[in-house]
């Protein structure tokens, strides 16, 4: 057990955990931020995707011990206060989620794409999003939502 200070969603928190504890469980069970999900625990599904210094990371395979003091963590709860991130708006317009379980991870993954490439092509979207599984099969709507957010598709009201 050790005490860790982490910077998450613009707040600084202190947690006590075993060195090997995946950040996912610290975020969920200790900090109570439940938007980040557990799907596989081995980096295969992307349900647990968060940002560490703006880079998408699968939090299920990142031990708390590997999170340095200077690192800035963002979860879905920290993406916007009120669903106002362009991707969140586009996700609502395109009515993307079905069961919804994978969607926090999808949105967090997509957000880092637009940061670096505001108008990605379809194949760039696919490549960037390929690590995030959706069993409900919402992939086509995810692509559509990313295109809406990047201005490639018109915002149509449903």
């Amino acid at each position: 057990m050790a005490i860790y200070t982490i910077h998450i969603n613009e707040e600084t928190k202190s947690v006590t955990a075993d060195e090997a504890t995946p950040l996912l469980w610290v975020i969920r069970e200790q900090l109570g931020l439940m938007g980040t999900k557990y799907g596989c625990g081995i980096g295969q599904c992307g349900a647990c995707t968060i940002h560490v210094n703006g880079i998408p990371v699968k939090s299920c395979t990142l031990p708390i011990d590997a999170v340095g003091d200077g690192q800035k963590i963002t979860t879905i709860e920290g993406l916007s206060e009120d669903n106002s991130h362009p991707l969140q708006k586009a996700w609502i317009t395109a009515q993307v989620p079905q069961c919804g379980y994978c969607q926090s991870g999808q949105i967090m993954q997509a957000a880092t794409l637009l940061e670096n490439n505001p108008t990605p092509s379809k194949s760039e979207i696919k490549q960037h999003m390929n690590g995030n599984l959706c069993r409900c099969g919402t992939y086509l709507r995810i692509i559509k939502a990313i295109e809406i957010a990047s201005g490639k598709k018109e915002l149509t009201t449903l």
Binding site: P97, L140, I142
Partner: protein, 719 residues
């Protein structure tokens, strides 16, 4: 609380309108706020469908589970339509889990709250229209009493009662303190329900109620519920179905850091620990010997050879469908066909692994549970049986489901949650399955061998069609074996059951997947052999089924069937009926001949599913269903060796990823005023047949074993 029929407490805060589900008895009771209202709703022996607040806010109670299929929106839309509620004022909450009061009448002579088989909208449609109309009637009646005018002179607009003659109007909210219950409320006759042509909500695209919270991460799945001082439970279950455990290192386990309690089950050993990682770690340390069971020694891929023997053997068969005289037709045929199809096991892979949260009171007499469940005739009964806690003291809170797909219709994980919590009264226990648990202790869509036989006359008309399914799983195997929409005079469908001891379960359309694959490929194969176009051949067969034919014609038009294609592309068609919906699907594919990888470029479907309550959502269900179908057709393969699943997580049980999606999926619904049919499972079983038929059009070769992995495709190609 006042539940008498004539009198009710007037309140400026709001009233719950309580309507007997079968009509006839209406009650109102007032409540100071929604929380006490909800409590009252649960106490009274009638069904509260709606809570009306004086500020005009309308809460509609949704009786069905929400696992992504959108019933959280679709069912309230049906109610609100007939109530003539202003949708902007509507909010939705889950109803209590109480089949007697909130069950749908679509289950023979029982009322059940159960979200399975794409039946939610179809089984609740008439009932919710009726109670919605009764709610409107109470509002009309109260306004008529208030204004002292004949009720027949009143009309409504969204959340507004209007008396045209005197120019008076009053909002539903303002009516709250004036509400009166009619002496008796009769069933509103069908002809007084709204004319579908006047629907404002049904058939329009209403954004889903649950989307916003699924986009900001606040939607609550059972795993997300937090209670103070929660403990964590995990169970090590036998890798072989039914195997009984003997724990050989109990002392050592009890001494481990974080250990709280041990729970011995028939089929596994449960551990409770103070953190989730400790629970996982302790679970790994369990040393267990397991009993031998039926599945011990069973190898899935070797089963086919045995099944082929069973197919021709004299063993008992269960006749599922029998029309005319197939044997005679076969004997008299100008030409006969016999073809075998195979399908491996597939796993649900719902994104949220099974889990639940429960707390038993200190005295052990009460339990409260949070769970994502497809419901069952009585969740409470299952818990009561296992824990001996009184039915009345069991409270089940339904949460969102991170996917159901059939797996969450079982009560095993609900009971496990309750049993672990019971071991530590006073403390909440979050019971979790790891992905590995979920996969390896899964319940799979059955593996089967299907022998199809057919006969044609001298003109090439189909005279007989027989379908024998060999495998384990009984009715799971049988779904989709019927061909009611093809005019084939002699048909036989039968099962030959070979028990394997593997856990099996419904899986989005279950038997329809393998069966429609086999049937649609067989039809195609015969068409081609007879020198006929596959669509034209089906057109002929559908002459007596205009609804089916309309989907075929529409899909053919959408896909520009018969028109020239880009080089190295081909199209394939498949038809099916599922949960009353008729669908034709056409896909366009290409093939990488070096890797054996098939690419689906486009998928078109035309569907007749009666009235479509939420068209965009119904289309989303088809899109998702087709993606899941592609996933199962190209990627998913669960193999069993010595009774145990050989795969363990998404690295070796692969799902379709974004790189493999088609460029487009287009779905059209044939206009209809018939009551709605189910649509959630129609997309998935269309894929295998359409793809295999397109592959045959492209290569002249036939894919007959699901999944079509690149290795299998290459083997067929190079055979």
């Amino acid at each position: 609380m006042n539940t008498s029929r004539r009198d009710f407490i007037k309140s400026s805060a709001g009233v719950a309108l309580v309507i007997g589900a079968t009509g006839g008895i209406t009650q109102l009771f007032s409540c100071q706020n929604a929380v006490t209202a909800a409590a009252q709703v649960k106490k009274i022996p009638l069904t509260a469908w709606v809570f009306l607040a004086a500020n005009g806010a309308i809460t509609i109670y949704n009786p069905a589970a929400e696992m992504g299929q959108g019933s959280m929106t679709a069912l309230p839309v049906i109610f609100a339509e007939e109530m003539d509620a202003d949708w902007n004022k509507v909010q939705v909450e889950f109803s209590p889990q109480d089949s007697e009061n909130y069950g749908s009448p679509g289950w023979g002579n029982r009322k059940i709250q159960m979200t399975v088989g794409s039946r939610t909208v179809s089984t609740y449609y008439n009932m919710l229209r009726q109670v919605g109309a009764q709610a409107r009637y109470v509002l009309l009646y109260s306004a008529a009493e208030h204004w002292q005018v004949p009720i027949a002179e009143l009309t409504t607009k969204p959340s507004l009662v209007i008396h045209e003659k005197s120019g008076q109007k009053i909002s539903y909210g303002d009516l709250v303190p004036l509400l009166k219950v009619p002496e008796s409320i009769v069933e509103i006759p069908d002809n007084q329900l709204k004319d579908p042509a006047d629907f404002r909500l049904i058939g329009k695209d209403i954004p889903r109620i649950d989307i916003a919270e699924k986009v900001d991460g606040s939607a609550k799945f059972a795993m997300d519920i937090q209670l103070p001082n929660t403990l964590y439970g995990m169970i090590e279950r036998g890798r072989i179905h039914g195997a009984k455990p003997t724990l050989t290192n109990e002392m050592a386990i009890r001494a481990l850091d974080g250990f709280v309690e041990l729970v011995v089950l028939d089929y596994g050993i449960g551990v409770i620990a103070n953190t989730i990682t400790k629970a996982m770690a302790i679970k790994k340390e369990l040393k267990i010997t397991w009993s031998k069971e039926k599945a011990t020694g069973f190898n899935s891929q070797a089963a086919y050879a045995n099944y082929a023997k069973v197919a021709v053997g004299k063993g008992e068969s269960k006749v599922v469908t029998n029309k005319g005289d197939f044997k005679k037709a076969y004997k008299k045929a100008a030409k006969t066909y016999t073809v075998d199809f195979k399908n491996d096991y597939v796993y649900h892979a719902q994104m949220e692994p099974l889990n639940g949260l429960a707390k038993v009171s200190e005295d052990g007499k009460n339990i409260e549970i949070w769970i994502g469940h497809q419901q069952s005739p009585s969740l409470q009964t299952a818990v009561s049986k296992a824990t001996a806690i009184d039915l009345a003291n069991i409270k089940v809170n339904l949460c969102y489901l991170g996917g159901g797909l059939g797996r969450r219709s079982m009560t095993d994980y609900l009971v496990e949650t309750a049993l672990l919590a019971k071991a530590v009264p006073g403390k909440p226990v979050k019971m979790m399955w790891t992905r590995e648990d979920d996969l390896q202790y899964g319940m799979y869509r059955p593996l089967s061998l299907q022998r199809l036989q057919a006969s044609t006359d001298a003109k090439g008309n189909l005279t007989g069609f027989a379908h024998t399914i060999i495998g384990d799983g009984d009715r799971l195997l049988a779904s989709g074996i019927n061909n009611d929409h093809y005019n084939i005079p002699n048909q036989l469908g039968e099962l030959k059951i070979v028990p394997a001891g593997i856990r099996l379960k419904h899986w989005r359309g279950v038997g329809h997947g393998p069966n429609k694959f086999a049937i649609e490929c067989m039809i195609d194969e015969i068409a081609i052999d007879q020198g006929k176009d596959p669509v034209a051949f089906r057109r002929q067969l559908m002459q007596d089924s205009p609804r089916a034919l309309a989907t075929l014609e529409k899909a053919a038009t959408m896909a520009k069937w018969g028109e020239a294609l880009p080089e190295k592309r081909a199209k394939g068609v498949a038809f099916l009926e599922r949960s009353g919906t008729l669908s034709t699907g056409i896909c366009e594919i290409s093939l990488d001949e070096t890797t054996g990888k098939i690419k689906v470029h486009h998928f078109w479907t035309a569907n007749d599913c009666g009235v479509v309550v939420q068209p965009d959502n119904a289309s989303a269900q088809l899109e998702g269903g087709i993606i899941m179908g592609m996933s199962s057709v190209f990627k998913e393969q669960l193999t069993i060796k010595d009774g145990q699943a050989e795969q363990s997580n998404f690295h070796d049980y692969q799902l379709l990823r974004m790189e493999d999606v088609p460029d487009s999926i287009e779905n059209v619904f044939i206009a209809s005023s018939e009551a709605p049919k189910g649509v959630g499972e129609s997309g998935t079983p269309l894929v295998a047949g359409a793809v295999a038929n397109a592959f045959a059009a492209l290569t002249g070769k036939r894919l007959r074993h699901l999944p079509f992995t690149p290795e299998r495709v290459l083997a067929v190609l190079n055979a």
